[in-house]
């Protein structure tokens, strides 16, 4: 791959991340919880004490200087301190909620990509048939439903009515498991419904796009050629149509990550899954702005990196975009 292409994409990603950090700084200045505003609301603080605290927090420096020190601190992973979880650095608060979310969405994405692509490719290939109508209809309904509604339906039906799965959390409270296997089974039972909700929510998007791009390729010359050569139908789909049609879906996966995590935040809320989503809602109700900003920064950077990876993969898969 051409070095210029990689360099350009890397530079773009870095510029975007810098812009995000600056936006975060501006938001921090505007927000009501900043130390200055809190102090100004208290009428009993003397001017001298106010000035002292301003100096202590560096608020008496000119804005550009504050910005530079903010950038420096952020680069070192210092995201400030949480209001709600007193004394705890934001980074630690985020860290404690990071893995449950990664497990839920990593697995959800994986399942959705595989099932969505298969479903979309099949219904596009057999377009006009019964399978196409049924598949497309179901995809459209899933596509129209917010993730948390899918989660709520699953919760009501499979957890509270049928009682097959637990209704909340990541593990059974107060239960000591004899073996690691028991613990994993318990975890899996808790994971199943939220994971299904995330996967179902995503499958609709991927299969709709996949179907559309398969339908696009159907009229292309190389597919006609492959058929004219007498290749079997399934082989034409797998070896000729699919590799080309998969590109838009591949990029959607990356572009989507921001929306997915955002929408899926709500799935965590439904199932009380102890990840970044429930953390967001807790921080929101406590107006814990440093934590909210930390979440925003974390997600934004994740999205930028995902886009970068997608661009690079795209460059490998499709040499034309490198130009």
């Amino acid at each position: 791959m051409a070095g210029g292409y990689i360099g350009r994409k890397l530079l773009q990603a870095m510029a975007t991340i810098l812009a995000i950090v600056i936006l975060n700084f501006v938001l921090f200045r505007a927000m009501p919880g900043s130390p200055e505003r809190v102090l100004l609301r208290n009428p009993n603080i003397s001017a001298a004490a106010k000035a002292e605290i301003r100096a202590q927090w560096g608020l008496d420096e000119p804005l550009p200087v504050q910005l530079v020190s903010y950038l420096g601190a952020t680069a070192q992973g210092d995201l400030g301190y949480s209001f709600k979880y007193r004394g705890q650095p934001v980074l630690d608060v985020l860290g404690s909620r990071f893995w449950p979310t990664v497990i839920l969405f990593g697995l959800g994405q994986l399942i959705a990509v595989v099932v969505g692509i298969a479903l979309g490719a099949y219904s596009g290939w057999k377009r006009g048939g019964v399978a196409d109508y049924v598949g497309n209809g179901i995809s459209l309904i899933f596509y129209s439903a917010p993730y948390f509604i899918i989660g709520m339906v699953l919760l009501v039906v499979f957890a509270s009515m049928l009682g097959w799965f637990p209704t909340a959390g990541m593990s059974s409270l107060g239960v000591r498991h004899a073996t690691l296997a028991d613990e994993l089974i318990d975890f899996g039972r808790h994971l199943f419904l939220p994971l299904t909700a995330v996967a179902i929510g995503l499958i609709g998007q991927y299969s709709i796009l996949m179907r559309a791009s398969i339908v696009e390729t159907l009229g292309d010359d190389y597919v006609t050629t492959a058929r004219a050569k007498g290749l079997r139908d399934g082989y034409v789909l797998r070896a000729h149509a699919l590799p080309n049609a998969i590109l838009p879906t591949a990029s959607l996966v990356a572009i989507n990550i921001g929306y997915v995590v955002a929408g899926a935040i709500t799935v965590e809320v439904v199932f009380n899954w102890p990840g970044l989503g429930t953390l967001t809602v807790e921080a929101l109700s406590a107006r814990d702005f440093p934590v909210l900003q930390g979440i925003f920064l974390l997600l934004s950077v994740a999205v930028v990196l995902a886009n970068l990876v997608a661009d690079l993969i795209y460059g490998v898969l499709d040499p034309r975009v490198r130009a």
């Binding site: 975007t16 812009a19 995000i20 938001l27 505007a30 927000m31 009501p32 919880g33 459209l140 309904i141 596509y143 129209s144 439903a145 917010p146 948390f148 509604i149 709520m152 339906v153 919760l155 009501v156 957890a159 509270s160 009515m161 209704t167 909340a168 339908v215 696009e216 009229g219 921001g258 929306y259 995590v261 955002a262 929408g263 935040i265 709500t266 809320v269 439904v270 967001t280 809602v281 929101l284 109700s285 107006r287 702005f289 909210l292 900003q293 979440i295 925003f296 997600l299 934004s300 999205v303 930028v304 886009n307």
Partner: protein, 316 residues
């Protein structure tokens, strides 16, 4: 002079007739597609609910005027069941239709206005203006705007004060409208820009310039009318997105309990712990409404896309 002169009034009337005939035939073609027809029927149904909720189910029930006892399953008196305060779910759901649709409509208006403005200016003026505006647009496209909306909403709320009222709407809802509007215009701007870019090179624009029209006038009188179709098609999809965003923001607790939207009811259902105890009717109606409305907009959007994009027409 041999040519018959036409008065400006006659010209305007003729133009109007042509436009009416065009839109009538466009409407017929839209209705002749099953997905377009289904979308319009669903939207018409919910528009009626949103227009006259009092006429259909009476005034919005509150904690003090609740007509039933708490968390009752559907019965003859309350065909949709009751919520945790004993309010009739049918009453709540119909009233929430108005809130959700109005928020969606206003947020769409802001989104499309910003997107069209930025897209037309960037595409028509080009050069440095275009570069700067498109960098900002790309930034907003990459950003997880939902999370940005989620941070902006409480900031704005705390600055304005959560109990104020603006234009008869609770300020919470105004903030949601504004936040959705300012965070979701980017894709509209991209689409409109590409169209403006190609319109700029057309002869009629050059002609307008020759007779001395300024850039502002050309954008208003020549570019804007030519992107209106695209703007409308895009607005349909933006509306679906706005409803989804509003629902999600309300669901995580940014809605207003005094003017409940569908998302707000779902928030209440979740917060009250209604689901683990099997009170499905607390969530089923607003959830079904959300899915139906978003589905309707998506169907309508795809029908419009087919009509406006001749390349696709042959394929299906």
């Amino acid at each position: 002079m041999s040519a018959t002169t036409v008065s400006p009034g006659e010209l305007r009337a003729a133009r109007l007739r042509l436009r009416l005939r065009n839109s009538a035939s466009f409407g017929r073609r839209l209705l002749s597609r099953p997905e377009g027809l289904l979308g319009i029927i669903i939207l018409a149904f919910f528009s009626v609910l949103a227009a006259v909720p009092e006429l259909l189910v009476g005034a919005l029930e509150t904690a003090t005027t609740a007509s039933g006892s708490r968390l009752q399953p559907p019965s003859a008196a309350h065909p949709f069941g009751t919520d945790r305060l004993g309010r009739d779910m049918l009453n709540l759901t119909v009233h929430a239709t108005r809130i959700s649709m109005v928020i969606g409509l206003l947020a769409t208006a802001i989104t499309v206005f910003l997107g069209a403005l930025i897209g037309i200016v960037a595409g028509f003026l080009g050069g440095l203006v275009d570069t700067i505006l498109m960098r900002i647009t790309d930034f907003f496209l990459v950003l997880p705007t939902f999370v940005l909306a989620l941070i902006l909403a409480p900031i704005l709320l705390d600055i304005i004060g959560a109990n104020a009222q603006l234009f008869g709407m609770r300020v919470t809802l105004v903030v949601i409208v504004v936040v959705i509007g300012v965070t979701s215009w980017a894709s509209t701007a991209r689409i409109i820009r590409s169209q403006a870019l190609s319109l700029r090179e057309r002869t009629f624009v050059a002609r307008a310039r020759v007779i001395g029209s300024g850039s502002g006038q050309i954008m208003r009188r020549h570019i804007l009318p030519n992107v209106v179709g695209l703007v409308v098609a895009n607005a349909v999809l933006v509306f679906a997105g706005a409803i989804l965003t509003e629902t999600t923001l309300s669901f995580i607790g940014l809605g207003d309990p005094f003017q409940p939207s569908w998302g707000q009811i779902l928030y209440a259902a979740n917060a009250a712990g209604a689901l683990p105890i099997g009170a499905w009717w607390f969530m089923a109606w607003p959830a079904a409404s959300i899915i139906l409305v978003v589905l309707a907009f998506t169907l309508l959007g795809s029908a419009l896309d087919d009509l406006l994009n001749p390349r696709l027409r042959a394929r299906r």
